[in-house]
Every structure is written in structure tokens, then in C-alpha cells.
Symmetry: C2
């Protein structure tokens, strides 16, 4: 991560965004990338469906992007393909489709594509991902886990992700799949990252200055462990609940903001710029 | 991590280092920190034994350090203590004792102590850790796992660690506890970091230029996934073995080197500086 220059936005989306609410989230992403000048790459690697790339191509073009190209990285060999890497160099935004986040980490992890995506984001290219694509964006990725509100140690499996930021750990389909427990378990291992639980059709637009803004029809559950006084994860027995004391929790809806530096939440931006 | 200036050494040690071989590893750490000018802080947080801090104090002083102070961070409240933070500001080296790495991550993760250690290392302070202390040093920490040579998905539990580097994932007591399987499993999730399996009484001195040099009576098993062609972690069933194809493996002994940038291994440094 380079400190000079301005990083691009990082935009995790909770899944199921394109079918609902007139594509507010994807529309905002296209505008962010330059509206009718926007060149966007779609990476459908997480998906098992053959038409995922082409579906997002037409969707994003309909929303006004100038060019959208789907780069089907299906194997680690593909992730070394010069032509695809050249195409990726030319874009203003990258969109990672949903599916299985372990498809993304096992196929792209450590490859030239992953390195280039980190470099491009650091240089100003915006990177969005939905569902599995959202989970993969950060340094610490929830690979899999179980449902339920109470954390237990075996409830969550963490894996290295793409690594655009280590400030947050993202979980998606949050309300729909009852995932507070696994997000709390992830934070109980090491209470340093901020947990971001994304409902479906809901996105966190994380700006270069590390303020996060909510967009969409659902909510974002922000789980802030920075004042945690105690976690029993070092001594809990398998299958038993983990104790964690002092978590701060915010539920934010459309236009809500959270500052990842100061850890302050607000229902909307203070300025009238919105 | 700041790119300007020179980072301090990062020194993971495989455990059981002080009882054997005349403290070669700890002796080298003391010399690195400035020999008879060296001011070293010991952090015994991982340990459950009350005298761990004082034992390392006398050991490191006997090896020639000028001052050694043990900072007993026992709770997250302790990790905000101004006096201890001031003491930490003054040192040339930090030594993390062994025990349970989850004690370290749950007690120090996200606290001012963890932030300060990252800042100090980036500014040139050397940080060593043995056993659990070694596991905690990196961004991705093996929190727990099972023995055996063949990787299975549930064999390893990853957690965020202290975060001095994300280039390597460390495992310790490596030969003594048959841990190749769990290290391979960790890398199969996302083949981007280099796996470092440390035998007991063996250390990796990771220099600011990201070359790693082996010291001690055992070996370091370097597991390099940068040419991995395939990992089945995205589709493997629980309890079944994971397929991973194209791993490069080096076993290095005393004086052996591995360059984390070029991924080249050698039995000793090319120059005669040794």
C-alpha cells in the first residue's frame, strides 16, 4: 500500500444488488469510474455460471459505462495471461462478481492479476465486489462459516484475501443469513479490524480518506472492537461460546457514514455535499 | 508499513531456543540490537508462567544487553498503560516470549501497544518472537491446528496477527510437531504468502531488504507457493485432503538464505560478509 497519491474507492457489496432498486449501487459505481468515460473490467472468477461476465457487461453498459470487458480468469495459468493483464491496466474500475470467495483466492492469490489489482487500486482505480467478490477484497477474508448470532471459535474460517485494506473484515448477505456470530468470532481472534456486515442490495463505498458511506436498501452493521476489554478466544473450548466484552455496534442505512480512522458513525455526512 | 527509512529485523524463532546450543540465536539478537548498548523489552504476554519475563531479562542481560525490561501486558487495559508505552518507545529491540499466540492477539490486537510495535519496527526497531511469539509477528497468524503431513481444510485456523509483514506465514516447532500439513493448508487458501516452518532452536533473521537468513541447530522449511498451478481449497469436502500442485520447497540450515522478493534460496550468502 502506497501512502502517496490517492487510492481508489473500495466498494464491498452485500450481494443481490443488480436485481433490486434500479441498480442504485452499480449506477453509483459507474459514475465514480467516470460515467460515459468509464472503462470497467468485470472479473467473474468466483462464479460457476458461464454468463456472469456477459450479464455484468451489458448491465454496466446499460448504466452508462463507455466500455466494459469481462476477463475470465478461470485458472492460475489464465492469471498470467499478458493480454488480459494489459487490458486490466487500462481500466478506471474493476468489478468482482459473486460466487465462492475461495475460487477467487485459490485462482488469483499470489498471481500477477492480484498484484496488479492492488497496484491499480493504490494508484486510483476503484474496485468493487459483490458477495464473494466483497469478501475477497480485504487482507483478511471470511472464507466460510456457520450461521447464528452467538460466536463460537469454529464458526468462522479466515484466509488471506486480495489485501486492498486490512482495516475492515467484510461479511455479506448479513441479515439474510444471520452472520453476526461469525463476524464477532472473526474479531474475537484479534480485535483490531472493523467488522462490516453488509445486507443484500447494500454497499459500503470506502473513500480514499477511509470514510465509509452506505448506499442501498438494506443496512450495514459496523462492529467496532477498538474498545474491547476482553476476549476469551485464547481459552474457549471447541463448540462453546466465546466471550467478548466492549464491542461497539452501529447499524447504518442509506447515506450513513463511518470514519475508519476516528471510529465515528453518523446518519449522514455533516457537510451538505451529498 | 512505511517504504521510506529502514525497517528493523523481524526474527521468528521456532521455540525451545534458550535451553540449547549456548544461546546462539538470542546472542545474535542482542548483537543486532547494539550489543552492550542494547535496550530490549521483553513481552511475556503469551506465557502463563509468572517468571517468564524475569527469566528472559536475566538471560538477555547475561548475553550482554545493556538494559532489559519486562513489560507484563496481562490485559487489554494494561495495553493502554502510558508508562509501559513510554518504556517501549525507548528500546532497540522487542522480544515476544512463547505460550499461546491467541493470548497475544486477544490481549494486544488493536491496542496502542500493537500499533506502537508496528511503528517501531517500521522505524528500525528489531522484533523477535519465539514459538507463539513467532506465530504472532505476521499479518496472517496460524492460531491453531492439527498435526500431520497431508493438508485438510479444517486443519488450520488463521487469524490476524501483529502484522509486521504479510509476506510470510510462520509455523513453529515444525519438525517436532509434524506441521507441514497445516502450513500447506494455510497456503492452499490463498497461495500468496511464503510459508516458513521453523524447527525448534532455529530462527529466521528477516532483514530490512526482505532476505531471510537461518540461524540455529535445526532447519527452516520454506514453502513457496508462487508457482502453484492449482489448489482445490475452493471445492474440497470437510475432512478430505486438499490438492495443491506446484509448490516449491526448500529445507535450509544454519547460514542458509532465502530472498523473499526474488524467491531464490541458497545454502549461504554469496558475499563473504558472513
Amino acid at each position: 500500500v502506497q501512502e502517496s497519491g490517492e487510492r481508489g474507492y473500495i466498494v464491498p457489496i452485500g450481494g443481490a444488488e443488480e436485481k433490486l432498486r434500479d441498480s442504485e449501487i452499480l449506477g453509483r459505481f459507474v459514475r465514480l469510474c467516470g460515467r460515459d468515460r468509464a472503462r470497467i473490467a468485470v472479473i467473474p472468477t468466483a462464479s460457476e455460471e458461464r454468463d456472469t461476465g456477459s450479464r455484468y457487461e451489458s448491465l454496466l453498459e446499460k448504466l452508462g459505462a463507455r466500455t466494459v470487458v469481462s476477463l475470465p480468469f478461470d485458472s492460475r495459468r489464465d492469471a498470467n495471461d499478458e493480454e488480459s493483464l494489459d487490458a486490466l491496466q487500462e481500466v478506471d474500475g474493476i468489478f468482482l462478481a459473486g460466487g465462492n470467495q475461495l475460487r477467487l483466492s485459490t485462482t488469483l492469490g499470489g498471481t500477477p492479476v492480484a498484484k496488479l489489482m492492488r497496484k491499480l487500486n493504490a494508484a486510483g482505480v476503484h474496485v468493487a465486489g459483490t458477495s464473494a467478490g466483497a469478501a475477497f477484497l480485504c487482507e483478511h477474508m471470511i472464507a466460510q462459516g456457520e450461521e447464528g448470532p452467538t460466536p463460537r471459535p469454529e464458526m468462522v474460517t479466515l484466509s488471506p484475501g486480495l489485501g486492498l485494506t486490512n482495516r475492515v473484515i467484510v461479511d455479506q448477505h448479513f441479515r439474510q443469513r444471520d452472520r453476526l456470530g461469525r463476524l464477532l468470532a472473526a474479531l474475537a481472534y484479534n480485535p483490531f479490524a472493523i467488522g462490516i456486515g453488509l445486507d443484500e442490495d447494500t454497499a459500503a463505498f470506502i473513500a480514499p480518506d477511509n470514510t465509509l458511506e452506505v448506499r442501498g436498501s438494506g443496512a450495514i452493521t459496523v462492529v467496532d472492537p477498538s474498545e474491547v476489554e476482553f476476549s476469551s478466544m485464547d481459552s474457549v473450548r471447541p463448540g462453546h461460546p466465546v466471550s467478548i466484552i466492549g464491542v461497539r455496534l452501529h447499524v447504518l442505512v442509506d447515506a450513513g457514514v463511518f470514519d475508519l480512522e476516528s471510529k465515528r458513525a453518523a446518519p449522514a455526512r455533516a457537510s451538505s455535499r451529498r
